[in-house]
Amino acid sequence: MTAAIELTDLHKAFGSNRVLRGVDLSIGKGESMVIIGGSGTGKSVALKCILGLIKPDAGTILVNGKDATAGDRDAFLAQFGMLFQGGALFDSLSVWQNVAFRLLRGADKLSKSDARDVAVEKLRRVGLKAEVADLFPAELSGGMQKRVGLARAIAAEPQIIFFDEPTTGLDPIMSGVINELVREIVVEMGVTAMTITHDMSSVRAIADKVAMIHEGVVQWTGPVGQMDDSGDPYLDQFINARAEGPIEAVR
């Protein structure tokens, strides 16, 4: 079976800083893969390479068996939804216009009223009332902004969703709510999900499989159930939040 996302020997350097040093990773269709690792180890860079936001120096990226760097860019990006770390909502647009952004543009664009209906429906799906639709992002709390970002990510029914640190900056209860929502949406829509996080409660709530990136390579990958008994000292140190171990605390 073709993997939804396949990274082979992916390299990326910024000047003398070699961030990715040969990442190999395979994510099956309908699978929820969570990428963990310390700050600056290249998790976000790998994600941005897949989306074409950053050009890798070497290596191949296949999405549904096709080279990610070739072919129609719009059609390629239409497969993806993305929840950004800070929400990345457009300040000048209302909440519903943010959610329906993709639906209002492009070849298959909907009428304004249809797009608004879809936006309100997606907002409901993430637990927000219809009244929120006409507010602006600056009028929302951090948790609500994340939910709007999530609604935007799923609005166009993508096949693959990326979640970049979905619980960063949220209190534990709101983190739990977002984790639950992410899991529900991934299962309900049957999408392939790739999540980047440092939050171990997110890992356990969201992941089918886990991959740990350390020093620009995948240090360990496997089902979330095997994570605690992996025997990998790097993974053990990371998931148990120990200062002592092979990963240097000062990087």
Binding site: G52, L53, R73, F84, G86, A88, R105, G106
Partner: protein, 264 residues
């Protein structure tokens, strides 16, 4: 030996600065070419263009108008006192008109708009870069060059000649007010002298200059904002660089355009 080493370091630092400058010029030229090439390709975001036209054109009117009014008045006083040295006070209306239309209207208007618009564009796009909104646009299948840069550059290029024209009229009016109220010129004579000495080329060259300045103002704002560094400091630096580079380029291109129009 120490002196040789010092000269070596000095020359190397000059070389590095020149190379960095050339690299910057190259990057800006590529960015400008990309923006212009996107102007000719669909989709065109009319709503964003309309918003920018309002933001850049309409909301710059007070600052351009006030600048022109006071400049026209001061110019009339200066020409009168300077002209008095060789009994040429009568040239006040014509020189005020020509100076406003050819130079001061477009250049001062351009500089004022650079301060207001370049900085605001750079800060807005810089913040969008830092908060990943520009990346979000790409993932939503929307080209940021088309959605953010093209509407701003086109709006500024079209709005600036209109602003400059309005500035010209207000500046001449400033000269007229000072001329008639302070310097005892006859109102009808002042207006006649203004009209008689103005030529189409004067007005046309000023409007072309203004269009070029508008392009520069928006391009510098977009370029520096789009490539803003991280954090508040990055956005702050982008804003400063946008205003400084737009102002310097306006003055440099003004000289080149003046050569082009009037050197013969």
């Amino acid at each position: 030996m120490t002196a040789l080493l010092w000269i070596d370091h000095f020359l190397a630092s000059i070389g590095r600065s020149v190379l960095a400058l050339l690299a910057s010029i190259g990057r800006i030229a590529v960015f400008a070419a990309l923006a212009v090439s996107h102007l000719a390709r669909l989709p065109f975001y009319a709503r964003e263009f309309g918003q920018q036209l309002l933001q850049i054109g309409y909301f710059s009117l007070p600052v351009v108008g006030l600048t022109a009014l006071f400049t026209g008045g001061a110019l009339a006083l200066q020409i009168y006192s300077g002209g008095a040295r060789f009994n040429a006070e009568a040239v006040v209306p014509s020189v005020v008109a020509i100076a406003m239309v050819r130079e001061l209207g477009p250049v001062l208007g351009g500089l004022m708009v650079a301060g207001r618009v370049s900085s605001s564009i750079a800060a807005e796009l810089g913040t969008m870069r830092v908060t990943e909104q520009i990346d979000a646009l790409t993932t939503l299948s929307t080209n940021p060059m088309k959605y953010l840069v093209v509407p701003r550059v086109l709006a500024a290029t079209l709005a600036m000649p209109i602003l400059a024209f309005i500035g010209d009229v207000i500046g001449i009016m400033g000269g007229f007010l000072v001329g008639t109220q302070r310097l005892q010129f006859n109102a009808a004579t002042y207006i006649n002298n203004t009209w008689d000495f103005l030529e189409f080329e004067d007005i046309f060259s000023g409007l072309v200059k203004a269009a070029v300045f508008g392009f520069i103002v928006a391009l510098m704002g977009c370029y520096h904002g789009y490539h803003s560094g991280r954090g508040a400091q990055g956005v702050g630096r982008a804003t400063t660089n946008a205003v400084v580079s737009a102002s310097v380029l306006i003055l440099a291109s003004n000289y080149l355009l003046t050569e082009l129009f009037f050197s013969s």
